[in-house]
Amino acid sequence: MNTLDKTTDEVLRLAAEHFKVQRAELSPDDDFFKKLGINSLQALDLLTRIEQHFQIELPDYELQGVSDFRTLAQRIQSRL
């Protein structure tokens, strides 16, 4: 598994935990707004969880225009 795949996998695990769904239900290309039925504020909540896990700081704007886990993982990867 390459580094980006690992990061994506971690993001999926964190999202599943945070929004209380089964990890197996989530895929990297899922639209998380639709799949999890969340709004942009709830998605920001997930960023906080991600920051704590990866020990990085992600400005809110990093989520702008992002709606799938893979792209989110790419944004995280670029800051690791």
Binding site: D31, F33, N39, S40, L41, Q42, L44, D45, L47, T48, E57, P59, D60, Y61, Q64, G65, S67, D68
Partner: protein, 569 residues
């Protein structure tokens, strides 16, 4: 506050404010637990004038259009003041738009100057349309050292020592061009005058006053009409303090309330509902006995504040709730979209009045707002002082189109006299919203007459702007509609867009086609997406220039299809 009748322009009023309260704090910029800036009115002036001087040297003069694309932060207000000081016309653009959309509006507005945050500028320079950018001076804020700025200047270094010359403007001159829609089709650039803003400011602050010591928490983007007024012009012309928070994360919003002892905050329904959800959860987690006591105290507060708010009583009855909001909160303002009455009542019962309002950019921000005398959760309040509201062609129940006449109405849509003539008829703005005035003068809203939706984030979405994203679909024709426009509904929440698909004769709507729709849909920002499609089997009615006759098509669909025929995506 300043007596705004004495001033002819926003620049003149702001200039007077900087001299009137030199030692008061005007601006705090918080970023999580950090504080990036804290400025007195004197320090604000000292930072803004060298910028104004450099802008003047670069050719910014009266009437020059200068755009800002930034998140809400101190450099937004410093730049805006410098532009007004030079007599410029401000074009506040939404930083949440895509780079291609921002470039389109920069072009439409004929902006000659641009102030932009580095991460946004980077996206703009990578867009295909960047090569067409005609802005001649770009200032980029917060660029990392050694960043390639693609010909732009570093905002932090863009200042000049010479004393700038203040350029007076007349009340009827344009102050701002604010885009209410049109990123995909026909841009609606509302041209608002200095008179529009100064009048609106007087009206709003007569109901919700600011004064030195008041702290307004700004979380809505300042390009948003509400924040521009209550998070800049209003507090500054009263010597109050604006606290910018550069994140919308709930934990930092909660922290800002207590850290900065916030007096007012404006928000959109989505954020208000999020606050409500958090509080309800905390109440539900209380042990049963404590919850019972809390419920009794809330009921008492409700009874004692039935006629009007009593902050002292509410704070005494529910100290822990009020302490969680910093102990100084006087009111929340909510607008930009419809808020459910239950949410408004929930906060009022806790002793936190919500100034629920209704407005649109074309009317100069706010049309009606709850005056709290008494609080009403079932309406959007009464017309602001100076605002005439009339219901056009009311039906049996008194419901008709809300029309507005006021000194705060925009001058016109930029470069579009035809659209202006459709929107303002005999001095009355046709809002396209359906409402009724009750006997006490409160406005109640019941839905829309126009083909658009408003999200709970306060975003106005027009089908025409979304439609371009579906270009290239292998299908005879398609058209986007607001579902409630096709099938009128007496609600302004949960509004959705749908795509009408008309295949070629004999063509099926296959899985591959639906996949193509879904792929294109995902290129849209999440709040702009369509929620389903409607198969349609007749040719669209077209004008001589082959444009879709939307109203006619809508009528055909209304007559022949039920809402249940929409296939969810």
């Amino acid at each position: 506050m300043l007596d705004l009748r004495q001033y002819n322009s926003l620049g003149e009023a702001l200039r007077a404010a900087l001299d009137r309260w030199p030692d008061e704090i005007c601006l705090i910029e918080a970023d999580r637990e950090r504080e990036n800036a804290r400025l007195t009115y004197r320090q604000f002036k000292r930072q803004a004038l060298p910028l104004a001087s450099a802008l003047q040297s670069a050719g910014l003069k009266d009437g020059t259009r200068a755009a800002i694309i930034m998140t809400n932060q101190s450099k937004w207000l410093l730049s805006a003041y410098a532009i007004f000081f030079c007599g410029g016309v401000l074009v506040p653009l939404d930083y949440k738009l895509t780079a291609a959309e921002q470039l389109q509006l920069l072009s439409h507005s004929h902006a000659e100057f641009l102030v932009v945050e580095h991460h946004l500028w980077r996206a703009i320079t990578q867009a295909e349309q960047f090569k067409n950018l005609a802005v001649r001076t770009v200032l980029v804020t917060e660029a990392p050292p050694n960043a390639d700025l693609a010909g732009a200047h570093r905002w932090e270094d863009f200042h000049a020592a010479a004393e700038p010359t203040f350029i007076p403007r007349k009340r009827t001159d344009s102050a701002c061009i604010v885009y209410s829609s049109g990123t995909g089709g026909r841009p609606k650039g509302c041209v608002l005058t200095h008179d529009n803003y100064l009048e609106q400011c007087v009206a709003l602050t007569s109901l919700y006053p600011f004064w030195p010591g008041v702290r307004y928490l700004s979380i809505l983007p300042t390009n948003h009409a509400i924040d521009f007024m209550v998070g800049f012009i209003g507090p500054f012309t009263c010597g109050a303090t604006v606290v910018h928070l550069r994140t919308l994360r709930p934990e930092f919003i909660r922290e800002a309330f207590t850290k900065y002892k916030i007096t007012y905050m404006a928000l959109v329904p989505m954020v208000l509902k999020n606050l409500e959800r958090g509080l309800r959860q905390r109440f539900a987690d209380l042990p049963p006995r404590k919850r019972k006591i809390l419920n009794a105290l809330i009921a008492t507060n409700r009874a004692l504040t039935r006629r009007q708010p009593h902050l002292k009583i509410s704070r005494a009855l529910l100290p822990q709730v009020h302490q969680a909001f910093g102990g100084q909160l006087r009111a929340l303002f909510v607008g930009g979209a419809f808020t459910e009455p239950e949410t408004l009542q929930f906060f009022y019962d806790l002793g936190i009045p919500v100034g629920n309002g209704y407005g649109c950019t074309e009317a100069g921000t706010t049309i009606t707002v709850n005056d709290l005398m008494p609080f009403r959760s079932d309406t959007v309040g009464k017309p602001l002082p100076g605002m005439e509201v009339k219901i056009a062609n009311p039906g049996a129940e008194g419901i008709g189109e809300v029309t507005v006449r006021s000194r705060t109405l925009m001058s016109h849509y930029l470069d579009d006299p035809e659209m202006t003539a459709d929107a303002i008829v005999d001095g009355w703005l046709l809002t396209g919203d359906l409402g009724r005035l009750d006997p006490s003068g409160h406005l109640q809203l019941f839905g829309r007459k126009k083909n658009m939706i408003v999200t709970e984030e306060g975003k106005n979405i027009y089908p025409e702007d979304v439609e371009t994203y579906f270009a290239g679909l292998p299908i005879k024709e398609f058209c986007v509609f607001a579902a409630n426009y096709l099938w009128p509904a007496r609600t302004m929440v949960g509004e959705q867009l749908i795509l009408v698909l008309h295949p070629e004769s004999g063509q099926e709507i296959t899985e591959a086609l639906v996949k193509g729709v879904a792929q294109r849909n995902r290129r849209l920002l999440n709040y702009k997406r369509i929620s389903g499609y409607l198969p349609w089997d007749r040719d669209f009615p077209l004008t001589a220039s082959l444009k879709i006759k939307r109203a006619e098509l809508a009528e055909q669909i209304r007559q022949n299809r039920h809402r249940s025929a929409v296939v969810p995506l």
